[in-house]
Symmetry: C2
Subunit: 294 residues, 2 copies
């Protein structure tokens, strides 16, 4: 059920993102570069979380299309800038040339800047069916979670920590900020759009934090135990880069236990927030994150 | 009168920007880098235009502090990214090391991203004294004028045009977008905050377009006729970079006439919009832009 659900949502999301990008024409290299960077075959986990949450709250999913698009644009810009020579210096992503390899480095910097800037246009001008108060809250939340106190903060600490042995609180800061904030963002955004009450919002936020953390721990485990063919990247790259990970700090056995605990707790809070029926897809997603092999 | 006015506004603006930046602490390199990049002794022309317009509309200037801060953060991020090795590759700005020379290239990319992202937090979370509708409009306007259809579009076309002979429409696109949009932005933002009627907004927008263009034409003229000591940069650099300019396309004499026409028209529309008394500072500013020697 989850696989079909994810596929359907992904199709819808790519269609909606495409419509937003179609409106941009000039300068051609930016318009094309934005499209190239966003429509890259990604799983659309973040937009899916937003639509999934809206649906569970009984709200019309179309109310979330623009915000979901904006969040995916922010995720995409962060990959474009992350891949730059001064940062991770990657030539390929998902088997395609990275944006700077395709369009040039100056262009990739500007394409990333354009995606980030335009995401806020999509949240505001693209959301005029929502009240001004909701738009203001969505912009405040998005800019907080994507910025210095969120994703960018996590990226910076991650860069500073490479090659160093780091303490658990720093590792947790990197996990919760670099990837975690952008997984919380769509769930909390959906709670604003769908007018969830405070308790439901708190439970669903906890769910998103737990699956975000589980996702990261599973990544660390796969980096040690995964198969190259399935991962599409070399096994053991964390160790080579001297990145601190859960298996390295806790040992593999305990890391797997922690993963299991996070998944279990995520399923519990989802059911508490939504009841068993409406939580079904949230439970499946949590299990999927724990069991995935790529 | 203008000089005193500008100095007072600049002091106030630097204080307000400093307060916003003071709230950011971690990661230290980003918090410090944001401060270093924004508090750089700039003239604060854009924030000043916003406060000036609010005052002329009879609105409390404090209503514009956050939006003025956000606009200056966007202006600053654009300079940080523009100075990067892949773009203009500048080591100094206003006699200080550029951000990437001071903090490193990866850091400068993230510091720029953080400034851009945080500017939208300042416009939204920092503006909660304004209605949601006004915030939504300010975010939509800011992201439009700073993005692919605005400043970033202008930067991209400018980069693509270097070393080529370009037609007047392309030169005008670069001028109106690369610098012009960010000069229109504070004036139009003030019209939203101060609830100017449609006619006043249209006139003040025209004023801002005219002084933006005049600023650029004057820049072109100074690049040929200016004195190194006053400009703080080499005379003739446009010719060296094979940049198309007004004097090059129209000849120096006609370029000066066009400058004069733009300034005259700017003064006229300011008086039409505001009456002679309230327009006085707008008239002075227009004259200053035409006469400045740096």
């Amino acid at each position: 059920m989850l696989k079909t659900y994810m596929m359907q949502k992904r199709e819808k999301i790519d269609e909606v993102i495409g419509e937003h990008l179609d409106k941009l024409k000039y300068p051609a290299v930016i318009a094309e570069g934005m499209r190239y960077s966003v429509l890259n075959g990604g799983k659309r986990l973040r937009p899916m979380l937003l639509l999934m949450t809206l649906e569970a709250l009984g709200a019309d999913e179309s109310l979330g299309y623009s915000t979901a698009t904006a969040i995916e644009m922010i995720h995409s810009y962060s990959l474009v800038h992350d891949d730059l020579p001064a940062l991770d210096n990657d030539d390929y992503r998902r088997g395609k040339l990275t944006t700077h390899k395709k369009y040039g480095e100056a262009e990739a910097i500007l394409i990333g800047d354009a995606l980030l800037t335009h995401s806020f246009n999509v949240v505001s001008a693209g959301n005029m069916h929502l009240s001004g108060d909701k738009i203001a809250k969505l912009v405040a939340l998005t800019s907080e979670y994507a910025g210095v106190n969120g994703m960018i903060g996590g990226q910076m600490v991650d860069i500073e920590s490479e090659g160093k042995e780091i303490e658990l609180p720093i590792l947790q800061y990197i996990h919760t900020h670099k990837t975690g904030m952008m997984i919380k963002l769509p769930v909390e955004a959906a709670c604003i759009i769908g007018e969830a009450d405070a308790e439901t919002t708190a439970k669903l936020t906890e769910y998103s934090e737990l699956i975000g953390l589980a996702f990261q721990i599973k990544d660390d485990i796969l980096d040690v135990e995964g198969e190259f063919e399935k991962l599409g990247k070399p096994v053991g790259s964390d160790e080579e880069l001297q990145k601190s990970t859960y298996p390295q700090i806790f040992g593999m056995e305990r890391a797997k236990e922690i993963l299991e605990e996070k998944i279990d707790r995520a399923k519990t809070v989802a059911v508490e927030a939504l009841g068993e029926e409406r939580a079904a897809i949230f439970v499946e997603l949590a299990d999927y994150i724990g069991k995935r092999d790529n």
